[in-house]
């Protein structure tokens, strides 16, 4: 019983009562972190990339057209989006199974933006002790100046975040033109405001609390680890019993473990975790404690790697399964490959036109005065190309037929679906069944001269016999 309480006692949960001011230390993982973070520059600069005289990537929601470089995707192709989501979900799963929450530690926007925000904080307010002191100090002109400046910069970053986000949807050019003169629509202003304030709140104030209490990924990823997952871990056998370096003690005869109990690993942790307690929910596997401990080990002349990327199996001295022998890796990789090939197939087969055929139900068929049978069809022609097209329609069946209503090519505006009503007439004597297969073919010529066509099967109905 007492043990239970003892454990509860030292198991402190970070509920955000106290701001965590993490120390910044240079090192290998710190560099990797900046490198990974810099990928987010694409988010800010991407909208300015042009392609064929248009924004390279533009999600034009009002017009329901999604431009990805040379490709235009319409809502009809959205099955690819689900594959894309599947791809990323599985990618997250693979990464987590192999190396834990790498996404959290290096790439997550919450981590990256928080990192930038605290970097600014350090520039303005100084090291963690200085920051803590400033927080406690009474308000004076200096404190006010520093704090106002800091929050202003945070808000500017928040604004840039929102502005860049909207630019992907609204177009960077039009946004710069409209935004500052009040010419954009309410949704634009609301989105930018939401992002500005959201970024400021999440990266400036909530920080690691988001990872602890808000983020669903954090919880999902937590259960995807197993004993062979490689995560930043403290080598207990090597480190314990921890003890400070005593003056005059000879390295060869010391009774303590390698850990010098300097608490540097805790000081640098952005989520306030003590990794020496083992793998835990708060750890976002950013590797910063590895940098810190390595620096300390270098100083006291002990080998690096007391905290290192290691699996639980490795730390417990069990054999480490090679990555390729783990079924998880295979299953995940197979799903990834499937999703990816689906997307590639989809993007490579995006046709310029699409044809849908709806058969009229009431009446299913009509008898004409000369005894022949007529069926009515509504064709829906979708033009996914960049220009307006003239689409010719033809129809084929095993018996002679007359197609009416498609004598002239049908004009279809780009990005639009144009319905056209056509009739097929088949002579009574030619009709040798209640139901005949009919194939409609839509053919058009693109401006560059290529012929494209789309086909659709349907049926012709006649009276029962």
């Amino acid at each position: 019983m007492d043990e239970l309480y003892a454990e509860a006692h030292h198991w402190e949960v970070n509920t955000g009562g106290e701001t965590i001011h993490a120390k910044r230390m240079p090192g290998k993982w710190r560099r990797i972190k900046w490198l990974a973070a810099s990928v987010w520059l694409i988010f800010f600069l991407g909208p300015y990339v042009q392609w064929n005289g248009r924004q390279a990537v533009l999600f034009d929601i009002p017009n329901r057209q999604y431009h990805l470089f040379g490709v235009t995707v319409l809502p009809q192709d959205f099955w690819m989006l689900s594959l894309l989501l599947l791809f990323f979900a599985i990618l997250l799963a693979v990464a987590t199974a192999l190396a834990g929450r790498v996404y959290c530690g290096y790439f997550c926007f919450q981590t990256v933006w928080t990192d930038v925000f605290t970097w600014i904080e350090e520039r303005l307010e100084g090291s963690p002790p200085q920051r803590r002191k400033l927080d406690k100090a009474p308000v004076d002109a200096r404190k006010l100046r520093i704090k106002v400046l800091k929050h202003a910069i945070w808000l500017v970053i928040g604004f840039l975040t929102g502005f860049s986000f909207v630019a992907w949807f609204y177009g960077a050019g039009p946004l710069w033109r409209d935004f500052f003169v009040g010419g954009a629509n309410a949704a634009v202003y609301a989105s930018v405001a939401l992002f500005t304030f959201g970024t400021y709140l999440l990266a400036g104030w909530l920080r690691e609390q988001v990872c602890f209490w808000l983020c669903p990924y954090a919880r999902i990823q937590g259960v995807m680890l197993d004993k062979s997952t490689v995560v930043p871990a403290y080598d207990v056998t090597r480190g314990e019993p921890r003890g400070r370096v005593k003056k005059g003690e000879i390295e060869e005869t010391r009774t303590t473990g390698d850990c010098v109990d300097c608490n540097q690993c805790v000081a640098v942790c952005p989520t306030g975790v003590d990794i020496r307690n083992g793998q835990q929910e708060g750890c976002i596997t950013c590797g910063l404690c590895i940098d810190a401990c390595n620096a300390v080990m270098d100083k006291v002349g002990r080998p690096r790697g007391l905290i290192r990327y290691a699996s639980l199996d490795e730390l417990e001295g069990e054999s480490v399964k090679p990555m390729l022998l783990r079924p998880r890796v295979w299953v995940y990789t197979a799903i990834l490959a499937l999703a990816l090939s689906g997307i590639i197939y989809g993007l490579s087969t995006l046709a310029a036109i699409e044809l849908k055929v709806l058969h009229e139900r009431a009446p299913l068929y009509v008898q004409l005065s000369d005894g022949s049978i007529q069926n009515k069809y509504t064709l829906k022609i979708l033009n996914k190309s960049e220009t307006d097209l003239k689409v010719g329609i033809s129809a084929e069946a095993p018996v002679p037929l007359t197609l009416m209503g498609a004598e002239e090519p049908i004009a279809v505006k780009h990005g639009e679906v144009t319905p056209a009503i056509v009739f097929i007439k088949i002579g009574r004597s030619d009709l040798d069944g209640e139901r005949l297969p009919v194939t409609f073919v839509a053919t058009t010529q693109l401006p560059d001269g290529t012929q494209v066509s789309a086909e659709r099967e349907n049926a012709f109905f006649g009276p029962s016999r």
Binding site: Y5, G16, G17, P363, V366, S369, D370, T418
Partner: protein
Amino acid sequence: MAEHNPFPGENNTGHFWDDNIRELNNPPPQWWMIALWASLAWFILYGILYPMFPVLPWQSQEGGGFTKGILGWSSIKEYEQGVEQVEEVRAQYEDQIAGMSAEEILDDPGLTQYTLASAKVLFGDYCSACHGSGGQGNPGYPVLADDNWLYGGSLAKIQESITNGRKGAMTAHKDILTEAEADTLANWVVEMGETQGEGGSEAGWKLYNEKGCNACHGAEANGVLAELPDGSIVTVGAANLRDSIWRFRPGGYESAKHTILYGVNQPAVEQTRDAVMPAFGDAAGSLDGKLEPDQIKKLAVYVHSLGGGQ
């Protein structure tokens, strides 16, 4: 509850049982509490801005109800705004249609699409009860999707039919014809329909002309009395007997004989066929002028496009 805390320095709440069981203090994260109070504030603010709180009966003038909110929002107002927006979009088309003839509408693919969509509703309300949802007809009511028209299938004729209605008439021949004659004629009509008018028996043709059928159905038995120089035809709405289409379904010998014997729209004859198309326009005898000329124009375009417009 113990007087003093036997576990100093521990994060307990000061509640103890059995000496050593105690309640630890694990507060929710601070921002949770902030969010809680913020939601409460939001709730109150929302209640001030929007209709929300029930009011006790004696407190409100209308007796019962709810607080109206200072923004004055109501769902019916939002609905009305939505309707206004739709009307605005429709007005662009309606204004154009008002100044156009049905033929001009049919020449403009965009307007045709609008007209078909809009007339579909009218057709459902006024026409489909008799003619079927897709113009497929019903027993006793003509098919609108075929190419057979008693009164002409041009846009103008269709508009005329909707506006003024139609009421054909055919004498009952039960007192004029003998049983055998009626048989001959009924069989002749079936033969005519099956052979596109080529295979009618001599006896049938003879009776047809003798008994005056040709007065309405025409010399050729195709329902046409005369052809005018401009190509239009003169008809009294009598059926074309040379085609495969039966005005009164199911068609065939029995059906044809019934029509011959009892006629169409003969008030004095008990088993006569009823065949009345009411007038939907403003003309005398209309159903209170149910449809506006523009609506009739749209319906004509719709019916014309069902499959057999001429």
